[in-house]
Amino acid sequence: MRRRDLLRNRLVAAALRSRGPQLVITLAALAGLLVAIVAGLTGTPVGARNAGIVLVWIAWWALLMLVAVPFAGRGWCSVCPVPVVGEWLQRGAVLAPHGAGLGAGRRWPRALRNIWLQNAGFVLVSLFGIIVLTQPRVTGLVLLVFLAAAVATSLVFERRTFCRYLCPVGGFIGLYSQLAPVELRVRDAAVCAAHTDKTCYTGSASGYGCPWLVYPPGLTRNVDCGLCFECLRTCPYDNLALNVRPAGADLAVARGRGLDEAFKTCIMLGSALAYAAVMLGPWGGLKSAASAVGTTPWWGYAAAFLLLVFGLLPGALWLATASGGRLAGSTTTTVRSFTRFASALTPLGLAAWMAFTLSFVFANLSYVWPVLSDPLGWGWNLVGTADLAWTPYGAAILPFLQAGVLLGGLAWTGAAVRHVAADLEPQRSVVLQAAPVLSLAALLTVVFMELLVA
């Protein structure tokens, strides 16, 4: 597969090696985060008028799910403001290395070096999703907890342990970054093998060892690379490439996949189903149950949600992979098939989240303009947009966009399923191996069409 190295362009290379542009964007994002926290905690309790809700869950979420993740993978992580305060304290520096920082630098326990905690964190936030998305104080509190957890983790553990193993948002960005048309890789692994100092991992006077705890020559997927570009600064041989590549190239990689990632795929699909039903469906009883935290209906909702993401969806995928294997006479273990075929559902998962986001964001985007003038809901009119009325955008084209995205995701999943089947058991029937999983994907697509497209 052909790749084009963007770092061959001197301007791009210089912009990414320099810490300046990245710092400027990160500082702007940090300012936005602080505004969102302050607005959430002290501003108007009306969510549609509060910057904490509108800037985070409409503006930022739209940029993340419709632009950053599909086209830049972990591009958001490279400028995310959540870990930077802790990182500055840990390093004792904002820019290049100098002096000693405050971080204790402990290693993350080996048993937790996976994404199970990120899965659990995402499920926990999702259980309270409708509250987080609509109540400014809860959003402010959640953002503050994220910030505090990132600082605390950075002070105790080495590098970006928080991003790699704890951040619930980073968990799903990593999963879907496999589909992005960009990747950071080494140009020539032999150069790295001969380089005894391994400064990309250990660091040098020019930069820090990989904050994401990745040894760059070992990168075969985007999942764990935060695109912080620190390795560009520490490699003395100019041996890094930022490639434009065929989208989804990581799906062809078998190495490094585990049950934690397979369950992440199911959790994301299940959460998209639940969010679509609760937030975009016409069922008032379901909305009431999902928002009445602590009541009997909420416990019923929570139990159903957990059953969906940890039981029904993984169970259905397990059955599909097992029956496909049996039909084809496969000798591959079901666990291995399950983890591989789960990766093939990744495009459908991203498509479902994009279709959900399209519906949610287009209907509510016009809330952004008044908030820009009056971020705290205190009656200001800073840029003259405070009185703009709510107007849903794109109602005429939205269903077609959503259907196109979902069908594209299904087609992409079909291609990935076929590749996985051919890779697992090349001598067996690809169609028989793939048919049950693809049928499950088609069924999920129909359900998403029913819930999302109107």
Binding site: I130, M279, P282, L407, W412, V446
Partner: protein, 146 residues
């Protein structure tokens, strides 16, 4: 079954599905239709309104708690109702399909998710999803190399 025969079989299933997909045409004669919709935080009752294509529809919005709005996606018409003061909107349901009804007045925490549905004509989405989904899956399975 070979890949080729499998694809023919699946396409054979998809073609009649597409051909039989209802296109939302009038199933009965167009009439004047008035529907009373009760709005309370954060739901409409009935949650789904069915009308025939071509009907002259009047939606009567009755709020039972705070001020609520009703905006019909796709038709772009809206009304606001205070408690005890119903509001009406009228339009000709000349576009087939399913359209969201949204509250257009901030009415509380879950306001952005106060949603109902208007179905004009027979609901073809399930058929369309199946009719389009099968070829989409086939395109991926048979023709698109990642």
């Amino acid at each position: 079954m070979s890949l080729h025969r499998w694809s023919l079989f699946a396409l054979g299933m998809a073609v009649p599905l597409i051909a039989l997909t209802p296109l939302g045409g009038p199933t009965t004669e167009a009439t004047d239709r008035t529907v009373r919709i009760e709005a309370s935080r954060f739901a409409y009752s009935p949650a789904v309104v069915h009308v025939n294509r071509g009907d002259r529809v009047t939606l009567e919005l009755v709020s039972t708690d705070v001020v609520h709005g009703l905006y019909v996606d796709g038709y772009g018409v809206a009304a606001e109702a205070d408690p005890g003061r119903p509001a009406r909107i009228s339009f000709v349901a000349d576009r087939p399909g399913t359209f969201r009804l949204r509250c257009s007045v901030p009415c509380g925490g879950l306001h952005p998710f106060m949603i109902g549905k208007l179905r004009v004509g027979s609901d073809a989405r399930l058929w369309l999803a199946l009719a389009l989904g099968i070829p989409a899956a086939l395109v991926g399975l048979l023709g698109w190399r990642p």
